[in-house]
Each structure stands twice: as structure tokens, then as C-alpha cells.
């Protein structure tokens, strides 16, 4: 009798569970939102091959404003300027790829008064995000351990460029050189992606520059994503 009852209980359980199973399974449907985010990139630098294959910048050395080899008598061997570009970075977002250099090193050896150096290069926003640039210049007279003072940069309506033009002086007010930096960037300093902007740097050494001294200078160009530039100023 007892065994019959137990069998009945199991049977009832099977029926109940099957009923529950029906209760759980019903028609269902799904909506999925899948996201893929392709981030842009911010790369600003000195454009590679800006003036032809292998020509990344233009360098002219003059004496009293006359190219050294045309000076009479021509003495192109007296002073020498070498420009080196380093810290190469390539944007993968462009076809063909865009390569820029993050660092330009200028070495001027055996300089003398009225020796002039003219360097042209192109600043390029090789990324995909607009960037706003700011420039800061500082320098040192390494021989006397003195700070050098540079002319301020200001917008020039005639040249439609940001221009720093004036004497570089040491702490005693001696004029070391005249420097002219012309950055052909827009008034709002915003560099658009895939756009290049020419920058000219002219250095003309003055009579009051001191013999056997070593002067160093550094121009730092900082680029910030355009929509954060105001906040960070």
C-alpha cells in the first residue's frame, strides 16, 4: 500500500514539473545595441617630405643678407648650420600615411655677427582632430649661465600670421640676435586635420653677441584638441 502511494507522489511531481516547464518557456525576442568606436588621433608635427622627397625643410645661410656662396669673397665654410629632425610619428588614419617629426634640432657652429640663418618648415596636423597650438620660447646663455629674453608673439594682419620679431637679449640687455618667427597659422591658432602651415624662422646675429659663447634656445609648440583648448588656457 505504502509503495503504491509513493509511486503516486512521483507521478504527481513529474506532471507538476512538466506543467511548470510550460509556464517558463514562452515566445521571446531580443534587441541588441552593439557599439564600435574608432577614436581619432591628434598628431601635430613637422611634415616629412614637405618640399619634395627627402626635403623636409629649407635652410639658407647668408652673410649680411647675401647667400654665403655669393658673398665676396665667398666663404661658406666659416659658420655652419645643421638641422636634424627626430622623433618620427606616423598617422595611420590617412592614405597615404602622414609622417611628421616631433623634434627639430638646430646646431649653429662658429657663428659671427651678421651671419643669418633662415629655416622654413611646415607644421602639419597629421591627425584627424583639429588642434589648437600655442608657442613658448625660452633660452639660455650657457657660457654665462644667463637667461635669454625673446620677443613676444603677436598676430600680424599684414602677413596674416603669428609673428615674433625682435631682439633676443641676455640679462644685461645685450642683443644677441634678431629673431623672426613667422607662423602662418590661422588667427585662432587652430590647425585643421590634413592641413599644413608654413613656419619661417630667421636668426640674424648681432655685433654684441659674445665671442666663444654658447647660446641655446627652445621653441615649444603645444597642440591641444580644439574643443579643450579654451578650458586649459
Amino acid at each position: 500500500m505504502r509503495s503504491k502511494g509513493l509511486m503516486g507522489v512521483f507521478g504527481l511531481l513529474v506532471v507538476m514539473l512538466s506543467l511548470l516547464g510550460v509556464a517558463y518557456s514562452h515566445w521571446s525576442d531580443t534587441v541588441v545595441i552593439e557599439g564600435t568606436v574608432k577614436m581619432g588621433e591628434l598628431i601635430v608635427g613637422i611634415l616629412k617630405d614637405a618640399y619634395g622627397t627627402g626635403v623636409h625643410y629649407e635652410l639658407t645661410e647668408t652673410t649680411n643678407g647675401v647667400p654665403e656662396d655669393q658673398f665676396s669673397p665667398a666663404k661658406p665654410w666659416v659658420a655652419n648650420t645643421t638641422v636634424t629632425l627626430s622623433e618620427e610619428e606616423t598617422s595611420t588614419h590617412h592614405t597615404p600615411t602622414q609622417t611628421v617629426y616631433k623634434k627639430m634640432t638646430i646646431l649653429i657652429e662658429n657663428a659671427y655677427p651678421q651671419y643669418d640663418v633662415h629655416i622654413k618648415f611646415k607644421l602639419k596636423n597629421a591627425g584627424t582632430i583639429p588642434a589648437v597650438v600655442t608657442m613658448y620660447t625660452n633660452g639660455t646663455d650657457e657660457t654665462d649661465t644667463e637667461k635669454l629674453y625673446f620677443p613676444p608673439i603677436a598676430w600680424n594682419e599684414t602677413l596674416c600670421a603669428w609673428v615674433a620679431d625682435g631682439p633676443v637679449t641676455d640679462e644685461e640687455g645685450n642683443e644677441i640676435a634678431n629673431i623672426k618667427l613667422v607662423a602662418h597659422v590661422p588667427h585662432d591658432c587652430q590647425l585643421e586635420p590634413c592641413t599644413e602651415y608654413e613656419v619661417e624662422l630667421d636668426i640674424d646675429f648681432k655685433q654684441t653677441a659674445e665671442e666663444c659663447h654658447t647660446y641655446t634656445f627652445k621653441v615649444t609648440i603645444t597642440a591641444i584638441q580644439w574643443n579643450k583648448a579654451g578650458e586649459l588656457e
Binding site: L42, I43, V44, G45, I46, T63, N64, F71, P73, K75, V78, A79, K102, K103, M104, T105, I106, L107, I108, E109, N110, A111, Y112, P113, Q114, Y115, L123, G127, I129, A131, G139, A177, L201, I203, F205, A209, E210, E211, C212, H213, T214, Y215, T216, F217, K218, V219, T220, I221, T222, A223, I224, Q225, K228, A229, E231, L232
Partner: protein, 234 residues
């Protein structure tokens, strides 16, 4: 007490929220381009040559006064001359040495006694230079060393072949009444204006001939300053 502890518990949370807000404000995509420049200035140093000393020689005119003959008239040893460089200098850039001063000493000089001095200029700096001229000054002193007159350089052609005059009236200009006492001539093979490139030397000569009007037992001090400028400013 309960209220205070609740407040203390809320503060760190508030700080976290504030800092995270600041974090958003500071962080932005940025990139930097750097132009680094180093300028090494050269040096301009003119000196008398460190290696080859100056030389001094005596001459006298032939009877026709057409050319100079080595030695003193009649083979005698009356006057004497010597030349030496002084004031050693070292170019701080090249480390090369030279001298800033050439001293010519003439003793027991007499009229028509000619002293010919050869010296060598050396560009011990790193920048070419150009000899643009000479500043010639002097003075006449008596036997006790007291200055009597200034000596004035007179060179109407500007070729550094001229004479020194005693400035008798003291007006600083060679004019009537001034006395010609010494003929002075600076010569070299390329003229008085020339360039010397770094590491190069250039030989030049200076001739002094004493005139009849030069006074006995007096001392004439002559200073010749060689003026050089960087070649691109000459």
C-alpha cells in the same frame, strides 16, 4: 554625534566627485613639437705669431739714394735695433697662442739710419678677418722722459707710406711749423688691406727712417695699432 559621523562619511565621497570633475577638466589630448637650437659663437683674434719671432735689420741709402743697402753706412755698428713680441694671448676658442704687442727698440739712432722690421700676423680665432688699417701715433720725449710733442701721422695718399711730424703748435693737425722727423712705411706683398683666414698668417714689414730734423738725445715712441675687423664687415 551620529549626524557628525554621517557628515564625515559624506566628505570623502564629495572629494572623489570633485577630483574626478577636475580630472576631466585637466585631461585633454595634446601633442608637442619642439625646436631646439644651439648656437656656438666663433671668435675673432688677431695676434702676432707665436712661433716665428720678429726680425730687425739695419739699412742705409746708397750714395745716389736709389736703393737701400743692408747694414750701416761704412760698415760701422753705431745704432742698434731689436724687436720682440709681448703680451701673450690665447684664443679661448681655439686654444692657439700669440702676442698682442710688437716692441721695436732702437738705440743710438741718427739721421738716415733705417730700421726694417718684419713681423707676422696670425689669425688665431675662428672667423676670417680683414686688416682695415693702422693707427699710428707717437710722442717725443726729452732725455729726462718728459713729453715734449705728440707725433702726428701724415699720409696724404692713405697707403701707409708717410711721415711722422712733431706737433710743434699742438693743434693735432700737421701744418706749417710742424717738423718731419721719421719716415714710416708699412708694406707687404698684397697692399695694406687684406684678409687673413683662421689659422693663416701674413707677413708684413715696417720701415723707419730717421730724418735730419730728428733731435739728438731724445726719445721717439711710436705706436702702430693694427686694426682688424670680421671680414664681412670690412
Amino acid at each position: 554625534m551620529k549626524t557628525r559621523s554621517k557628515l564625515m562619511g559624506g566628505l570623502p565621497l564629495l572629494l572623489i566627485v570633485l577630483l574626478s570633475t577636475l580630472g576631466v577638466a585637466y585631461s585633454a589630448w595634446r601633442d608637442t613639437v619642439v625646436i631646439e637650437g644651439t648656437v656656438e659663437m666663433g671668435s675673432l683674434t688677431l695676434a702676432f705669431d707665436y712661433v716665428e719671432p720678429p726680425s730687425c735689420a739695419e739699412y742705409h741709402w746708397d750714395p745716389e739714394h736709389t736703393h737701400k743697402i743692408p747694414g750701416e753706412y761704412g760698415g760701422k755698428d753705431v745704432g742698434s735695433c731689436s724687436a720682440a713680441y709681448e703680451e701673450e694671448v690665447e684664443d679661448p676658442h681655439t686654444g692657439k697662442k700669440g702676442f698682442k704687442r710688437l716692441e721695436i727698440n732702437i738705440t743710438n739712432a741718427y739721421p738716415q739710419y733705417i730700421v726694417h722690421t718684419t713681423f707676422k700676423l696670425h689669425n688665431i680665432g675662428t672667423i676670417p678677418l680683414c686688416i682695415t688699417g693702422y693707427n699710428i701715433t707717437g710722442e717725443k720725449r726729452d732725455a729726462t722722459g718728459v713729453k715734449i710733442y705728440d707725433l702726428l701721422w701724415y699720409d696724404p695718399n692713405g697707403d701707409y707710406i708717410g711721415s711722422l711730424y712733431e706737433d710743434v703748435n699742438g693743434n693735432g693737425v700737421v701744418d706749417d711749423g710742424d717738423i718731419e722727423v721719421i719716415n714710416l712705411e708699412i708694406t707687404d706683398e698684397v697692399g695694406w688691406r687684406y684678409q687673413i683666414d683662421p689659422c693663416r698668417t701674413h707677413k708684413a714689414e715696417i720701415d723707419l727712417e730717421f730724418k735730419q730734423e730728428a733731435e739728438e738725445c731724445h726719445t721717439y715712441i711710436i705706436t702702430v695699432e693694427v686694426v682688424a675687423v670680421q671680414w664681412n664687415k670690412a
